[in-house]
Symmetry: C2
Subunit: 155 residues, 2 copies
């Protein structure tokens, strides 16, 4: 795969009007060179996950049609699904008004789950508050697609 | 409004199992004290915007039922809709497996738009590539809810 090493594939430093009303892709990466990527399922619209991309991860995603991220915890490139099979086939990429966020609309290969905990979506818990206003989590999804312990355990 | 100044309202430093499988809300803020918040419309499911919250903004959102953010560009608290009327009435808040992202499911007051450019969603442009693989933007939404220039211009 050509990743354009040494190239700066995207425009930068556009004026506000061109950034918001124009047709030039000029993603604004933060001081760590990252941009958040929101991932929804193309068919159902459900929110699946949020990841972070650097310039090369975004470029690879555009070039290959599969979602690539930069793992902040592991400090390495991460092709979603490379080990799990839960590859994200990108149907559409959007950006927002000030181009500091990416939206991927995807279909999910493999077993169809996105979350490493086994749920379709990483957002399987909602926030509720008790009578004192203290927040806690409640499971909004209770059915997992798979049990990661069974998949990855070695007998 | 009580914002719990001086308090640390959320748990932190949970072990991985409790973080992923438990019911304790322990949002992971980054080194700037921020967490990305994805905002979708509760009824239509459409992705409206991505913002960033610090601990107090998240706490205010939970307490008030209206979405608060931390503006990175202006370095100040930002109640969405305070000037535009496009207040986000929060129907549900979720977090993800490792609690480093927030999902707000909202209804939008005022004229129903979310984007300051006038569109319902900030994600009104998609990425397409030309025959050389070079990316550019195409308008996915063409109808604006309002023209900000007309609203804010002083005659």
């Amino acid at each position: 795969m050509t990743t354009g090493q040494g190239m700066t594939p995207f425009a930068s430093a556009l004026d506000k009007k061109t950034m918001e009303h124009g047709t030039v892709l000029a993603p604004k990466f933060d001081e760590h060179g990252l941009i958040p990527a929101v991932v929804t399922h193309f068919d159902s619209g459900e929110l699946l996950m949020v990841g972070f991309m650097n310039e090369t991860a975004l470029q690879r995603t555009i070039e290959t049609g599969h979602a690539w991220y930069w793992s902040r915890s592991r400090q390495e490139y991460w092709k979603k699904g490379a080990t799990s099979g839960q590859v994200q086939e990108v149907v559409e990429i959007r950006t927002d008004c000030d181009q500091d966020a990416i939206w991927l609309r995807v279909r999910v290969a493999g077993n169809g789950a996105t979350c490493h905990v086994g749920y379709r979506s990483c957002f399987y818990r909602r926030v509720e508050t008790d009578q004192n206003g203290q927040p806690h989590l409640v499971f909004a999804e209770t059915e997992r697609v798979y049990d990661p312990a069974e998949v990855y355990s070695s007998k």
